[in-house]
Symmetry: C2
Subunit: 120 residues, 2 copies
Amino acid sequence: MSQLRIRSKVWLEVDGQPFLGDGRYRLLSAIQRNGSINAAARDLGMSYRKVWAQLQAMEETTPFPLMERRTGGKDGGATHLTAETLTLMKRFGEVRTRVNAAADHCFHECFAGDHDDVAT
Amino acid sequence: MSQLRIRSKVWLEVDGQPFLGDGRYRLLSAIQRNGSINAAARDLGMSYRKVWAQLQAMEETTPFPLMERRTGGKDGGATHLTAETLTLMKRFGEVRTRVNAAADHCFHECFAGDHDDVAT
DNA sequence: TTTCGCTATGCATATTTCGCACAACGCACT
DNA sequence: AGTGCGTTGTGCGAAATATGCATAGCGAAA
């Protein structure tokens, strides 16, 4: 009576280096939504340090600038994504949705029936 | 001129706990192929300690015995997978293959053309 | 009773992850 | 000019995790 489920993960690689996956996708979304890296970190419940490190790693493997960061100013600064990043995210989101659906489909085909008994 | 590729990963979960993924699949295969955990570890270039820890974690979330371990004897002992494990692996392998194929397909559809220029 | 190669595990070390604390920045308002 | 504010950026120690060495225990066959 244990629940058997399938999970799938999709990500893009640039020259063999992980580049855009689910976590980073959510991170970028949060940045765009909140207007700053700091606010995004708080939003996601992560430390700014961690988020910053992720972005750092991400930009190292990216052939184009991911975001425009402004520091200082009345409200301390801000960050927003470039147009290229937005289109990339849109495409990636599409692929991810489709692959997840395909995974569910294959799962139900191959494991038809035994969703609680693991191997019959 | 950077190479953009898609990668995908599929795994099974039992009650929300990771249960069978690609690494463990290879590990189980190696055990069956070699007839012992020790030989499998050497085969995969891992330390026995590490392999053992993985199996330990795996069996904790498994509702049925994964393998039959025999200790002692002339040749020290042996380990082989149970029939349930074998059928489970077969099904999982099938799902994984199909999902990978689906991922490639979706990728080519959504990123048609720009395999080197990331976002155009 | 000895031998042998395997399973099993304690423990010290190496590696990675994590986050606190603080520096730099620059616009607005005084 | 000077101060305040909320960002971005970063050094560094601590905490968690991964790793593997070294060793104990096992039991059938010789």
